[in-house]
């Protein structure tokens, strides 16, 4: 019955009779869908942008550093600084089954120079594992990351970022060149790329070199390692709890002293962030659905007016033998038809707008904004969902008016002038 061309001819002829009204009805649904798309795309955009900040760091990792104790313990006074050392590495390697790649870290800031150019640069001493933990990417054909030999031989080599390359080497190929940091010469072995906030000068050097030159040959500032098999926030909390306890044993501080070591759990933060965004998404969905509902109510209202205006005609049709199903079908089909056509126009505009903004954001000079909003589009799944929603909306919008039409009494309907 739906594909009966006769029915469509009837519907098209009634729509043609009421062009303005149909347009106004359609506009409300187009607007609803457009708003829905814009809300969803911008929500996705902000989410994608924020995600890109997490992007370069392996999501499942934990970093910790020594602070100072807040309570006296076993004869030690409070405010005793905690320094990480080989015991920590041994503990993680042998007694923490969840740990994967491990790297100790030493950070410092140095004035570096090459020829007449100089700048301030943060140095971080790391082991080769660091590359995997933080997903460091080496720029194409621009050398390598720190390797085992660099560590073993305490080599004075550095992997620099693009910013350092730009300032010291004027974007020339820096690999193999020697620059000076505090009177010591470092050979550039590679250029790396890190997808994260900020664009400051930074360089990685072998951990052993950093320890020897900048940390009196002992200890470390931070230790970072990847975690396996911790999926939920609860798992992570429990792990952190257990980990603090183990650390308190090797560093001799009160197990309940939370100030003694600082912990940054990437996954836990990620999960919290995800929770926040799910909240924002839910909010956007509620507003979006609200807007759509307003559109549906609009269509329903206008269909109701249509039915009222067509009361006489529907009465005549019933007298001539139109079955209730035929009346119901024609009103519902008209409603679905209007909703779908105009809904698609709205969706087309909304998706188009998203793609347009997306392409603007991807153009050069927009990198910073791209960390806030990125790829503000909606995916195919949502589009198919919207299609189903549109048809259901049409049915919902048409149901009440159609019911009214079916209830029309031919005798009374034909009496009204």
């Amino acid at each position: 019955m739906i594909w009966d061309t006769e029915n469509w001819a009837e519907i098209v002829s009634t729509i043609k009779k009421n062009k303005l009204r149909t347009f106004l009805t359609g506009f409300s649904i187009s607007w609803g869908i457009l708003m829905f798309c814009i809300l969803l795309s911008s929500g996705n955009g902000v989410r994608n942008g924020m995600m890109s900040n997490f992007g370069s760091r392996s999501v499942n990792s934990l970093q910790y550093w020594g602070r100072s104790t807040s309570v006296p313990y076993q004869g030690f006074p409070n405010n005793r600084p905690i320094t990480l050392d080989e015991k920590d590495l041994e503990l993680i390697k042998n007694h923490i089954p969840e740990a994967g790649d491990i790297t100790p870290m030493i950070s410092t800031n140095k004035m570096i120079s090459y020829g007449t150019y100089n700048t301030n640069c943060s140095f971080t001493g790391v082991t080769p594992e660091y590359m995997r933990i933080n997903e460091i990417k080496i720029v194409d054909n621009q050398g390598r990351f720190i390797n085992g030999m660099d560590i073993k031989e305490h080599r004075k080599v550095a992997v620099i970022n693009k910013r350092v390359r730009e300032i010291l080497f004027q974007n020339g190929d820096p690999v193999g060149k020697l620059f000076i940091a505090d009177g010591l010469g470092y050979t550039v072995i590679g250029v790396f790329e890190e997808d994260a906030w900020g664009n400051d000068e930074s360089a990685y050097i072998p951990f052993t070199t950093a320890q020897l030159l900048y940390n009196q040959g002992w200890g470390m500032h931070d230790i970072s390692f990847t975690l396996k098999n911790l999926k939920t926030e609860k798992d992570n909390k429990a792990f952190e709890e257990k980990f603090r306890e183990k650390l308190s044993v090797i560093h001799h501080y009160d197990p309940s002293d939370k100030r003694a070591v600082g912990i940054w759990n990437q996954l836990q933060n990620y999960l919290q962030f995800l929770g926040l965004f799910n909240g924002i998404s839910a909010f956007i969905w509620i507003i979006g659905i609200g807007t759509l509902l307003a559109g549906i109510v609009g269509v329903s209202n206008i269909m109701l007016i249509t039915v009222r205006e067509r009361t006489r005609e529907i009465g005549i049709r019933k007298a001539l033998g139109a079955k209730p199903s035929s009346i119901l079908g024609s009103i519902l089909m008209e409603s679905v038809f209007i909703t779908s056509i105009f809904g698609y126009i709205g969706m087309f505009l909304g998706v188009g707008l998203g793609e347009l903004v997306s392409s603007i954001l991807q153009s050069p000079g927009m990198e910073e904004i791209a960390h806030v909003i990125s790829n503000p589009t909606i995916d195919v799944g949502v589009a198919i969902g919207a299609m189903i929603t549109l048809i259901l909306s049409g049915l919902a919008a048409g149901y009440f008016p159609a019911y009214k039409a079916v209830k029309i009494q031919p005798v009374e309907a034909m009496r009204t002038e």
Partner: protein, 224 residues
């Protein structure tokens, strides 16, 4: 053709209103009868029951030996479509369809193809002398023409009876005569016809006049 046995009908809008108080009536095949009565006598209600547009409370109504009682809306629509042709006082043509499409409408609800039903509609319009008006909209037709289109529409599904509710009520006396003449012609071809009217001149053109008063049949007058 039509057999009514003690039909009762009460409306319950506020105070109950007993409109039809036991109507017994037989109309034979090929008869042309008129129903007369003052307003409020129940003649419209009777016509609506005959046309399966309204239900009745007690009694029995046989249309062509079929008991018409407690029908679903769908079944009622089907019977209206096949067995009954309506002619109304205010023509009741669909304003945005041309004469041909209006005439063809009952066939649309029978599932007849567009080509076939339009062709048949043209034949019936020709019978009414309106062939060249087929593509005109109702607003472009005179009252008499509109009523002839409506008669064509009532005939196209080849019903058992024609029910006419004040068919000449909106027409001048000359056009009224034309219309009643056409109805008589249709009747002569064997169509049973029931006309509700308050014009004596029209009623006197029929074979039998049924006088209704306060929901009962007061008298039946057979024409000479």
């Amino acid at each position: 053709m039509i057999l009514l046995e003690h039909i009762n009908k009460t409306y319950h809008n506020g105070a109950p209103l007993h409109v039809l108080k036991g109507i017994d009536l037989e109309i034979k095949e090929g008869e042309m009868v008129s129903i007369m009565g003052a307003s409020g006598s129940g003649k419209s209600t009777l016509l609506n029951i005959l046309g399966i547009l309204d239900t009745y409370d007690t009694g029995k109504y046989y249309l062509n030996h079929v008991l018409i009682k407690d029908l679903s809306e769908t079944k009622a629509a089907e019977l209206r479509n096949k067995m009954i042709g309506f002619v109304f006082q205010s023509f009741n043509l669909i304003t945005f369809k041309n004469a041909m499409e209006n005439v063809a409408l009952p066939l649309y609800y029978q599932g007849v193809s567009r080509k076939k039903r339009n062709q048949m509609a043209l034949e019936y319009l020709e019978k009414m002398g309106l062939k060249e008006w087929a593509k005109h909209m109702p607003s472009e037709l005179s009252g008499g023409q509109k009523q002839r289109v409506a008669i064509a529409r009532a005939l196209i599904a080849r019903p058992q009876i024609i029910l006419a509710d004040e068919p000449t009520g909106a027409l001048d006396s000359k056009t009224s005569k034309e219309v009643i003449h056409i109805l008589r012609e249709v009747n002569k071809e064997g169509m049973t016809m029931v006309i509700v009217t308050h014009e004596r001149a029209i009623a006197e053109e029929t074979d039998k006049i049924i006088y209704l008063k306060d929901g009962v049949i007061e008298s039946i007058m057979v024409a000479k």
